[in-house]
């Protein structure tokens, strides 16, 4: 049968909007070999905290190019950033205006309401 590893990963996620001071929340996520950081963020929304704001669309094709964030300080697509056991820091893109949590303003100007 499927080998269910009991390893854990901890996502240390930067929360908040441009109008508050921000904070970090730690989320413990069951780790399976090959998981992406986005898999973990989606797991958090379903199982721990649906208020976490994230932006993504294609989930694992790396085609939509909308899921970028800072993973351990590096700009990455969270769908191809591999999860590892232990602590992983996830923060919003630093050079984009912050909307909330991991969502930054990446919408082209001419597509705004």
């Amino acid at each position: 049968m499927v080998d269910r590893s009991i390893k854990k990963a901890v996502l240390r996620v930067r929360r908040g909007t441009a109008n508050d001071e921000g904070r970090y929340n730690d989320f413990e996520v069951p780790f399976e070999e090959g998981m992406s950081v986005l898999d973990a963020l989606r797991w958090i929304r379903v199982n721990l905290d649906s208020s976490l704001a994230i932006r993504y669309s294609c989930i694992n094709a790396n085609a939509c190019k909308t899921c970028m964030a800072l993973v351990n300080g590096e700009v990455e697509y969270t769908c191809i950033a591999k999860l590892t056991p232990g602590i992983i820091t996830v923060e919003p893109l630093p050079k984009r205006p912050l909307i909330r949590d991991l969502v930054t303003d990446t919408v082209p100007e001419e597509e705004k309401l």
Binding site: G34, S50, S57, C58, N62, A63, V103
Partner: protein
């Protein structure tokens, strides 16, 4: 509350929506092109990695009528022949137009290169290297749309209701994801191009935005849906090991090109046991392979994750490298070495044949309400040939855009703010259920996905479908009005999830009811309790909403008039 006005409002900006926008603007209409995600990035179009089928006849002699025959054959008697003919006849124009707009179809010897694909009797499938068809066509259309000043694009607004009055569409109500505000849109014509429904299933190849909202929006607005039982399950979607950064259906062309073997958990070839030939030859039509894989798994002969092995170990490494190109390195990054290990594959929800019922101008029975792309039902009948879906998105998008723009010239909008009141109140009621605990919409979505996979998946029985229907109705009655949301205003995904869940439940109900009523197996609809096709069911099932209840009737498939073209 922002209120925007346009001639043509387009809901969903995938291949169909963007093509429709270009076509409508070409006819002089002002266009509002909306997407809940980002324009050109939210749906299936940008994810497609394989091919686009069109009888351009550059690789070998071909004709749209041959493509048409192949399409009807796969559709098992249920195609709306007018729509299939439109798809096949206009496909070549759209492919060539896309090339003019900058899509670099793979070429050889001075012509567009066309490959063979299952079910096609000619080499007619175009593509962009390398596994880049969807991203390339999405980029072409995004650029083209951006060049046209009559098209206004809006991202991050999700449509939650089509506004109608006296059998006419007048616009829509949306939710701005960024700030949670309600936005209304007045339009002379509305095009539903919001894609398919495969997110209803736990195992899927879907993006986050494919919850079948187009179908629910159409139904609520008074339009009909057709063939909702026909969900296509792609037989060899990737199951394990976890593969990130690649489309889960990427194996198909490689299996085709290289003769990858499908093996059961005991490493035996098995598809032939179910009536297909599969020894090294890729000829099993999609539904047969799904059937075979799940039957083996059910008999206890599946791979560890409940699918089958796809094995390339018999193929020399240099040949693998030549065929897979850069993909082989991406696989290695994922820890997958094809010379040493087979991967696990299995059926997953991939495409929807059913959808909004339209005439050959893409118009529903609601005046001014159109549909395009995967949202449309009928062109592919009970099963779809690979490569037909993107062609369908282009062709139906173009047709819907031109038809809507023409109609808009003669229509005016009788907008009244009170028409949006019901949607507005529904959202207010939702916001009043802000709480720091309670069941969230996203958790119910996950439950619905499992329910649909277990009970309305590739293998169905009356008992399982009835159980699914009972739980769906209960979720609509008890859960939907009681789930809570967090109190955020900015980018509150709970609100979005709830709107999506509401549509998903309606759409799931139409799938389950239609599947329950079709007491036979045909194409992608497989009933274990009715394993054979029944000629008396050579009919399409049409569903509509009557007094809040989903009701259905049967109708004879639309046939093309002898002598060809029936469409204008």
């Amino acid at each position: 509350m922002p209120n925007l006005t346009t001639d043509v409002l387009i809901v969903g900006a995938g291949g169909a929506g963007m093509y429709a926008a270009i076509a409508a603007a070409r006819k002089g209409a002002s266009v509002l092109l909306l997407d809940k995600s980002l324009v050109g990035r939210g749906g299936a179009t940008v994810m497609a990695q394989m091919t686009v089928a069109a009888a351009i006849g550059q690789q070998e002699p071909d004709d749209w009528t041959i493509h048409f025959e192949d399409t009807l054959k796969a559709g098992r008697g249920l195609c709306n022949e007018e729509l299939s003919a439109l798809l096949c006849e206009e496909g070549p124009k759209r492919i060539l137009e896309m090339e003019q707009w900058g899509t670099r179809w793979a070429r050889e010897n001075g012509h567009i290169k066309q490959e063979m694909a299952p079910g096609h009797s000619r080499r007619r499938c175009c593509y962009v290297d390398f596994l880049n068809t969807g991203p390339a066509v999405a980029a072409t259309l995004r650029r083209k749309v951006g060049e046209i000043s009559e098209i206004r694009r809006i991202s991050n607004v999700t449509i939650i209701e089509i506004v109608t009055k006296d059998g006419r569409a007048l616009g829509a109500v949306g939710l701005n994801v960024l700030d949670g505000e309600v936005v209304t849109f007045q339009a002379k014509a509305v095009i539903l191009a919001a894609g398919g429904l495969t997110k209803l299933y736990a195992r899927n190849s879907a993006s986050a935005n494919m919850g079948g909202e187009a179908y629910a929006l159409a139904l609520w607005a008074g339009a009909e849906l057709v063939d909702m039982e026909f969900v296509q399950f792609f037989p060899i979607g990737h199951l394990a090991p976890r593969l990130v950064g690649m489309d889960p259906i990427m194996w198909d062309p490689f299996r085709y090109k290289l003769g990858g073997k499908l093996l059961n958990g005991q490493f035996e070839e098995f598809v032939d046991r179910y009536g297909g030939t599969d020894f090294g030859q890729y000829t099993a039509t999609r539904d047969l392979a799904s059937y075979a894989i799940l039957k083996e798994a059910e008999a206890g002969r599946g791979s560890p994750h409940g699918g089958a092995y796809l094995d390339f170990r018999h193929i020399p490494e240099n040949q693998l490298r030549a065929a897979f190109g850069p993909v082989i390195d991406r696989l290695l990054l994922n820890g997958i070495d094809l010379t040493k290990t087979p991967v696990e594959v299995g059926p997953m929800a991939h495409y929807h044949m059913g959808g909004v019922r339209v005439n050959n101008h893409m118009e529903t029975r609601i005046n001014g309400l159109y549909a395009a792309g995967e949202a449309v039902g009928g062109a592919n009948g009970a099963n779809r040939l690979s490569g037909n879906a993107i062609t369908e998105a282009f062709v139906f998008g173009e047709r819907a855009g031109s038809s809507a723009a023409e109609a808009a010239q003669h229509l005016h909008v009788d907008w009244e703010p009170k028409l949006a009141a019901a949607a507005f109140e529904r959202l207010n009621a939702l916001r009043s259920r802000q709480s720091s605990d309670g069941v969230r919409p996203v958790a119910l979505q996950a439950e619905l996905q499992n329910l649909m996979w277990e009970n309305a998946g590739p293998f169905r029985t009356g008992a399982k479908l009835a159980a699914a229907l009972a739980r769906i109705q209960q979720m609509q009655r008890d859960d939907l009005p009681n789930v809570t949301v967090t109190d955020e205003t900015v980018y509150n995904l709970d609100l979005l999830d709830w709107c999506e869940l509401r549509a998903m439940l309606t759409t799931a109900e139409t799938v389950v009811r239609s599947a329950l009523a079709r007491n036979e197996s045909r194409g992608a609809h497989q009933r274990e309790d009715f394993p054979d096709s029944n000629e008396s069911m050579l009919k399409n099932q049409v569903v509509e909403l009557r007094k809040g209840e989903i009701v259905s009737h049967w109708t004879a498939p639309v046939q093309l008039h002898p002598g060809g073209k029936s469409h204008g």
